[in-house]
Amino acid sequence: MKKIFLALTALFLSAPAFAAVGCDLNDPDRDVARLFPGSTGYRTRYVSIKGSGGQPLLERVETRLGDKFKGLYETMDVPYTLYDIYKGKEVIGYIHGVNQKGEYGGIQVFLALDRAGLIKSFYIQKLTSRAARDLRAREFGSQFAGLALKDFEAYDPVAAKALPGSAPEKIKGPAKAGKDFAAVLRAVKKNLILLDEFVFSKKEK
């Protein structure tokens, strides 16, 4: 009763709140089928760092990423849209997208992962770049297939440096991509870490 009263009080008395911008698939029915062939359905959930662990989780994510969340728009209260992918009644994987600051605009990077955390598909939904066409090309995206979080753990997004011989080092960026290639790699690492925190680590616990 007390909780209901508090919720109603909050609803009536709070000032209008504007949430930070999230990252949703434009057409989930079409995109899920395309990114996750063989799936029969999906369930959408919304998670945030603020709601899943707050400041300690933010610090952990930043440490694992090797970079701070920065700017006006990369904040703790950003709502992340997580799609649980189903085949029949069984969850067979996840699709998750993040916003990343690019050289000329926001980049929306989506990853489709199987239950083991391996990347099945890579999709840049939105991007403004001199190399936009190449970065969104199938050839570029296919380089991420089969990779997992462990492959990106040593990648340094601040210096945009990968260990010699590591998987990120082998990923070839388009010639004109410039800073946007590094931004895409940061987005992939951030995406994988968030998925690990929101999904895989929780399952292990």
Partner: protein, 396 residues
């Protein structure tokens, strides 16, 4: 014991019945106050939205989609232009205080989504546009330095979507042209939130539209006759006049039509509540027939009995009315959310404006309605003949 205390105690004798009747009155008061508040709030919001546009009349080339949303729907096509010389022609009218020229341009960006999307840019005059939009405040930076600068000011949502801050670059799709962001606006709750503003001359040059405009915002002098100005503007060749006053009138006409129906429902709710009051008080009088007879036999005059019963009605309606108005204030946000969900267009800001005037009026109307419905039961009670009342009670 005075007549008020007796009336109050009488009401407490049948608590459930009193509570149910007061509940009915409360609901009527709630509906009435909410509807009156909505009427005022909607009109205020609409006025505010129109004022926030900064200009009362918008001139566009005939058939030109003058809003970014319409442009998007049309896939960035369908823009029509008028010559820049129209500025001088319009300024010749004595009613005109200020004008601000605008040029909208849409560029198809194939790298937005699966099938591409349109990026719209609004070219505005660095001198005349900002004073027309005094409500726009900056989160970062400020307006561009000149009309030729390759600079941009971004609405809050546009900047958020593109993760742009002051000093960042924008790239115009297909042009390979970099633009520097010099300002990010605070959220205004208007369509400006999703707009990317560029200096007008820069837009004309970038998109080869020199000497052309898609819109001209006109601010009219305070005492001027807008209709007379509009009639003269209609005579200009190949332009359409979008009158914000007309837009407002059209929306208000639609809302008024709906309001008549809703007010009718509120009226019915009020009548039902009044019938409930008559029923409750009349029942109470019948139950106390002998008691009223004894009171009268002890010297109470018909007017005293009338006052006592009428006072019960007044207390019932006063309490129910006050509770209803309190309820309307508490649930204003919830009602507002419901209205926004059902209405195709609702202005920004508070939609239900409850002030002293509205709540006072609703309260007085409820109490007056209640007192009116209390007249008959009070009159019946005042006419009770003492001996007859006592005899009937004795026979029972």
């Amino acid at each position: 014991m005075n007549v008020y205390a007796i009336a109050y105690k009488n009401l407490l004798r049948k608590k459930t019945r009193t509570a149910l009747t007061a509940g009915g009155i409360m609901l009527s008061a709630w509906v009435l106050a909410t509807l009156l508040g909505f009427n005022k709030g909607y009109q205020q919001g609409l006025n505010r939205d129109i004022d926030n546009m900064g200009f009362q009349v918008l001139l566009t080339a005939k058939g030109c989609p003058y809003e970014a949303a319409t442009l998007m729907l049309k896939g960035g096509t369908g823009l029509r232009y008028m010559p820049e010389s129209v500025v001088k022609t319009v300024f010749q009218n004595p009613e005109v205080e200020k004008v601000t020229p605008m040029l909208m341009h849409g560029v198809f960006d194939p790298n937005k989504g699966e099938n591409g999307a349109v990026a719209a840019y609004l070219g505005v005059d660095a001198q005349s546009f900002p004073p027309m939009k005094p409500y726009l405040e900056f989160k970062q930076g400020g307006w561009f330095g000149s009309n030729t600068a390759l600079e941009a000011v971004m609405g809050y949502e546009a900047a958020e979507l593109e993760t742009r801050e002051v000093g960042d670059k924008l790239l115009i799709p297909g042009l390979d042209q970099e633009i520097t962001v010099v300002g990010v606006l605070k959220r205004s709750g208007t369509q400006d939130d999703g707009t990317i503003f560029l200096p007008i001359t820069a837009v004309q040059k970038l998109f080869n539209r020199e000497g052309l405009l898609t819109g001209l915002g006109i601010k009219v002098k305070k005492e001027a006759d807008i209709s007379a100005l509009e009639n003269r503007l209609y005579d200009l060749p190949d332009v359409q006049v979008v009158s914000m006053a007309q837009v407002k009138t059209t929306i208000m006409n639609l809302v008024n039509s709906a309001r008549v129906i809703v007010m009718g429902i509120a009226g019915i709710a009020l009548i039902i509540a009044m019938a409930g009051v008559i029923n409750t008080i009349l029942m109470s009088v019948m139950e106390r027939y002998a008691e009223i007879g004894i009171i009268k036999s002890m010297g109470a005059m018909p007017l005293d009995v009338f006052k006592m019963i009428w006072m019960e009605t007044a207390i019932l309606c006063g309490l129910g009315g006050a509770a209803g108005i309190l309820l309307s204030a508490v649930t204003a946000r919830l009602s507002e959310a419901a209205v926004r969900y059902f209405l195709p267009y609702a202005p920004n800001g508070a939609l239900i404006a409850l002030d002293g005037q509205i709540t006072g009026f609703a309260f007085l109307l409820i109490v007056a309605g209640g007192l009116l419905s209390g007249v008959y039961p009070a009159w019946r009670a005042a006419r009770v003949r003492p001996l007859e009342a006592i005899r009937i009670e004795g026979e029972q």
